[in-house]
């Protein structure tokens, strides 16, 4: 009996200990219960909810680099209101239950006023964040329904809705001279949403989508879906996929002689497909992807990123996360003392459009520009942040319209053709 009591009390201590950890980890940064993450010494803590493990771990870890770069540059520029910006990272494990838990941690334990993320499933984090007046800026949650979430205007995103990329993808297919198409998409919210908007756009122009099919990643063969889609002999296969399965699908379609023309969205914008399939087979195929307009802001971002990490961003959305952090920092600066009072989240929410939307002096990415921005905000001049991922002008729903890049496979490499701005 005594032994059991001992084991039990040991256990109890362990549980208490593991739950107390957050207490000691953030004691300094959450001064009291005012709900404001401001330190005496002048630090402002914001949160980041990214998939550091699970299916999207690759994206999460690269996006983290984008976030860290932004924080570093903002701090080099003096920081909002002369305070240092700090980020707490929480892992959402690419999974809804853990995602909600991560959001709860950031909101209730770290008491941050704003969060970068989540990369997927904004609808899970939104109820937690908006109830507590915390701003969410997702770098990558593209589905169309994000627009209409019941979020009390606390949800923003720095990437374009799938509706926009679908529109451009359909338009490009039509411009390439294809009259009929088949669509094969990955069975997730991204694939489904994009397939739908592409179909609408392509058919509006007069094209005909002969068949659509969904696939689950990680299977050995996709012959069944491909045979089904090849009926009626469509001109092109629009393949909404990620490289791992995408490569398998292209190989099968080619070797069975079912398709020889393809079009790709951002998920396939990777040199891996050319290496694995062979550039000869894919020569001249077109695709679309987010942002990457040849703006000075993006060029600066790319240079700074390479200087910091010694490589190009390995996945998409790093610049979108970077813009999210910068937008928050500028909004805090614009909010002034309000950002430390009772409701910092609301102050940030209300100032995001002030610093990101026209009118105002255009501010690009980079330390020098941020210095200028903080100075101008202090002087009371209006500014308009032009981000690395696009111009970052939030509409009434918190959505942005980022440009869509059209790219082409040429001589075994992905070559940008042009950037288009679609109307929402």
């Amino acid at each position: 009996m005594r032994k059991r009591v001992f084991v039990l009390s040991l256990l109890f201590m362990f549980i208490c200990g593991s739950l107390m950890l957050p207490g000691c980890g953030t004691e300094e940064s959450s001064s009291g219960d005012g709900g404001v993450a401001v330190e005496e010494g002048g630090e402002i803590t914001i949160g980041a909810l990214l998939p550091m493990s699970g299916d999207l771990a690759d994206y999460g870890q690269n996006v983290q680099k984008g976030v860290n770069l932004a924080v570093k540059q903002i701090n080099e520029a003096g920081g909002p209101l002369g305070k240092k910006l700090k980020v707490v990272f929480r892992d959402c494990q690419s999974e809804p239950t853990a995602l909600r838990d991560g959001a709860e941690k950031l909101v209730n334990v770290d008491k941050v006023p704003a969060i970068i993320g989540p990369m997927i499933r904004l609808d899970v984090a939104t109820p937690v964040a908006s109830a507590n007046h915390v701003v969410l800026i997702s770098p990558s949650n593209t589905p169309t329904w994000v627009t209409t979430l019941d979020d009390d205007d606390y949800t923003f995103r720095t990437t374009a809705s799938d509706a926009i990329q679908g529109q451009v993808l359909g338009q490009q297919a039509w411009d390439c001279g294809y009259k009929t198409a088949a669509i094969l998409y990955i069975n997730d919210p991204y694939g489904g949403g994009l397939a739908e908007s592409t179909t609408v756009s392509f058919e509006k122009l007069g094209g005909k989508v002969l068949g659509t099919a969904a696939y689950d990643p990680g299977e050995v063969a996709y012959r069944m879906q491909l045979n089904e889609l090849a009926k009626g002999d469509p001109d092109v296969l629009i393949l909404i996929a990620y490289p791992e399965s995408g490569v398998v699908i292209i190989r099968e379609a080619l070797s069975a002689g079912l398709f020889d023309q393809f079009m790709f969205p951002d998920g396939m914008q990777s040199t891996q497909i050319i290496e694995d399939v062979g550039g000869d087979f894919l020569e001249g195929m077109y695709g679309t992807g987010p942002g990457a307009a040849e703006t000075p802001s993006y060029a600066t971002y790319l240079d700074d990123y390479q200087a910091e990490y010694g490589e190009k961003p390995a996945t998409a959305y790093t610049e979108n996360a970077y813009d999210g952090v910068v937008a928050i920092a500028l909004a805090i600066a614009a909010a002034g003392e309000e950002a430390f009072e009772a409701d910092p989240g609301m102050a940030i929410r209300d100032n995001l459009r002030v610093v990101c939307n026209p009118p105002g002096e255009e501010i690009n990415a980079g330390v020098e520009e941020f210095k200028k921005a903080f100075q101008m905000i202090a002087d009371g001049t209006a500014i308009n942040y032009e981000g690395a991922a696009g111009s970052i002008d939030f509409d009434e729903y918190g959505d942005t319209v980022t440009p869509i890049l059209i790219w082409k496979i040429e001589n075994g490499d992905i070559v940008p053709v042009k950037s288009v701005l679609a109307e929402q």
Binding site: F14, I15, L19, P22, Q64, P127, D188
Partner: protein, 315 residues
């Protein structure tokens, strides 16, 4: 902090209900159910469809009271368990486990692909939450904590009542020696089915408690790792065949699972990106240490009345 602690406790209560359900099957009846998540999922979706708001995208929008949704979830999970039991319970041990694993995968694919029914990968949103308008949404978690604790207590009491009844003793007899029980004139198949259906209903109820907490459900929530294997871990760590033990196991394992994230603040930034793997590592260590040092789990099985009497005699 208190808010977060409450949200941790709500999820732990839901997992504890699942662990109790699995404990009845594995701990008391000896059914190696590797598909417990399927019934959790069925319960979650049933309640979501019954109580959800009308939507053109999927079946549902019946907007029934939440208690009806919970009852419906339990009934639907029970019904499906009854049907599954007909072929599956002919199997025992490993083959039964594999059959249930396959059944979970089948249900997962159905829910993922039949979007007229479940809205597919997009999931169902705006599921009503009980007493939501009573308080500031910021403090809603406290109200839900009460609901979750009530649900867990009711489950625990009914489980205890069930396993300590003559019915429960038959289950344990089946676990120990099925042939012998058969020879004592008990219809083993029937008893195993009753145990299977009853505990699946509890899993379905846990699913309903989950969806009314999050107000949202999508197939990703029910990956085998999160909905089945984590529950197994809780049962094994807590103490197979001890209801209080598995509740403890659920609180402990879920605490480590989500609590390991807090270590991020304490380790160097270069290691912080690997925190996901550290979590897996920690959970693995817990399992290994438990199996090596306390194979019966933290709290061992309570002795039956007969054994207790005998012990007293010897003492």
């Amino acid at each position: 902090m208190v808010n977060y602690l409450s949200s941790y406790l709500v999820m732990a209560c839901i997992y504890a209900m699942l662990a109790l359900s699995l404990n009845m099957q594995w701990g008391y009846t000896g059914l190696m159910n590797f598909g417990i998540g399927a019934f959790y999922m069925v319960g979650a979706y049933t309640s979501a469809i019954l109580c959800g708001l009308p939507s053109p995208e999927h079946l549902g929008g019946f907007h029934l009271p939440i208690l009806m949704g919970m009852a419906g979830a339990a009934c639907m999970a029970g019904l499906i368990a009854y049907l599954v039991a007909i072929p599956a319970l002919k199997l025992r041990g490993g083959p039964f486990a594999i059959a249930l694993l396959a059944i979970q995968e089948t249900f997962f694919l159905i829910i993922k692909n039949e979007s007229w029914l479940t809205n597919g990968v997009w999931g169902i949103r705006d599921i009503p939450q009980p007493f939501f308008s009573l308080v500031n949404p910021r403090f809603y978690v406290f109200i839900y904590l009460i609901i979750a604790i009530v649900a867990l207590t009711l489950t625990y009491l009914s489980m205890e009542r069930a396993v300590n009844s003559p019915w429960g003793r038959v289950l344990r007899a089946i676990r120990e020696d099925e042939t012998l029980t058969d020879m004592s004139g008990k219809d083993c198949f029937n008893f195993r089915r009753q145990s299977f259906v009853f505990s699946s209903m509890v899993a379905g109820l846990a699913g309903a408690v989950y969806v009314h907490y999050t107000g949202f459900v999508s197939p990703q929530t029910f990956s085998p790792l999160m909905s089945t294997f984590l529950v197994w871990l809780m049962v094994m760590v807590g103490g197979t065949g001890n209801n209080r033990g598995v509740i403890l196991g659920a609180f402990l394992v879920w605490g480590v699972w989500v609590g390991s994230d807090f270590i991020t603040n304490l380790v160097p930034a270069s290691v912080a990106t690997q925190i996901g793997f550290i979590r897996m590592f920690l959970v693995g260590i817990i399992l290994t240490v438990t199996v090596l040092t306390r194979p019966q789990g933290l709290l061992t099985q309570k002795l039956s009345n007969i054994q207790l009497i005998e012990e007293e005699k010897h003492a």
